[in-house]
């Protein structure tokens, strides 16, 4: 098979041992090659010490989230062709401490999920399994839009307030609370809304929508935040 699409890019990668970006020439076989392929090429052929994280390579685990040309993306899902540039800049996610190069400590992000206590508590303790909601059920449709978070932390990184406001829960945790508030099977349901009706919660969200823009699984996070505000403004906490 001919390799007519083959070209070369300059991969600029943020390094922890150097203030400047490290620059590498990377041959790319196709426009459909991924940023992760370029990072792996550098690790295998130029610098084995390059630090980055990946696992599933299918956009499901969220572990390869980085900032590519200024936008939070999954390295395994971002094609070089989609960037429309021969210079690809890879940086670590914002609002999270950098462990090495473009690899971040996800702890602050995961702590927001823990702090939100957004775990389903069944309202029917006698049932051993949760009732399955049919796809056509109205509530199921509402929740469906907000579901599918892979906890990659891209929204947390893109959110203007996650970096500046330590106590802020962030989009992912609040989206989880919205899902539970809508889920009739959850015992606490809308009671959880009272917990985010604070200046560290939903009131800190100004609806800029950066979270929605970068979400790799296209969860309408901004709309979710508006929905939360709407529910809270009605004072429907029970």
């Amino acid at each position: 098979m001919s390799n007519v699409e083959s070209f070369e890019i300059t991969l600029e990668v943020s390094r922890t041992d150097n203030d400047d970006l490290a620059s590498f020439k990377v041959p790319v076989p196709s426009k459909n090659s991924r940023v992760l392929d370029a990072l792996l090429y550098v690790r295998h052929n130029a610098d084995p010490s390059l630090g980055f994280r990946y696992s599933c390579r299918a956009g499901m685990c969220g572990s390869c989230a980085v900032v590519v040309n200024g936008k939070e993306s999954l390295a395994c899902q971002t094609t070089i062709g989609s960037l429309q540039s021969n210079v690809v800049r890879v940086e670590p996610m914002r609002a999270l401490p950098v462990l090495k190069d473009v690899m971040c400590d996800m702890d602050p992000f995961f702590k927001t999920l823990t702090k939100s206590h957004a775990a389903l508590v069944s309202n029917d303790p006698d049932r051993k399994t949760l009732r399955i909601m049919p796809p056509k059920e109205k509530v199921r449709k509402l929740i469906q839009d907000q579901s599918g978070c892979i906890t990659c932390g891209a929204c947390f990184s893109a959110c203007e307030w996650s970096a500046t406001k330590e106590s802020y829960l962030g989009p992912s945790a609040m989206n989880r609370i919205l899902m539970l508030a809508l889920d009739e099977r959850d015992l606490l349901g809308k009671k959880r809304l009272r917990g985010i009706a604070t200046d560290s919660g939903i009131f800190r969200c100004h609806g800029l929508g950066s979270c929605s823009t970068v979400c790799p699984v296209d969860i309408p996070l901004r709309e979710g935040m508006q929905k939360l505000k709407s529910l809270i403004s009605k004072g429907d906490f029970d």
Partner: protein, 119 residues
């Protein structure tokens, strides 16, 4: 499973609602104020006498007083919201909140005293 959830802050919720509801008053009353000022009274230049004559009407006075209260609440709470974006200390946030509440009350009081001079 333990039934745990965040507790929330009733004051934050009240101030947030107050800011949203005051926005409705501001929009409606600013339009009403402009209509009264430039269409009903056809005011070209604002003078003490002209304002004094206008404010003798109970309706105009009521519009101005409610507008004063709404603008003070909405503006100061908006300013508070901007400040809280950049503050991580909960003690400082609390201090700012009460300072803002004091500023709202002071501004409304000062506005009412100023309006009284025209009556």
């Amino acid at each position: 499973m333990k039934e745990t959830y965040l507790s929330g802050n009733p004051l934050d919720l009240k101030l947030w609602r107050l800011q949203r509801s005051s926005a409705i008053f501001v929009i409606v009353l600013v339009v009403a104020h402009l209509i009264l000022q430039y269409i009903v009274f056809n005011a070209d230049a604002i003078s003490f006498q002209e304002v004094s004559d206008r404010i003798k009407s109970g309706v105009i006075l009521a519009v101005d007083v409610v507008l004063l209260i709404s603008v003070s609440i909405h503006g100061y709470l908006g300013f508070r919201s901007i400040l809280l974006d950049y503050i991580n200390s909960s003690r400082l946030a609390c201090f700012i909140t009460y300072t803002i509440l004091f500023a709202i009350a002071s501004t409304i009081l000062y506005g009412l005293v100023a309006l009284r001079a025209f009556i």
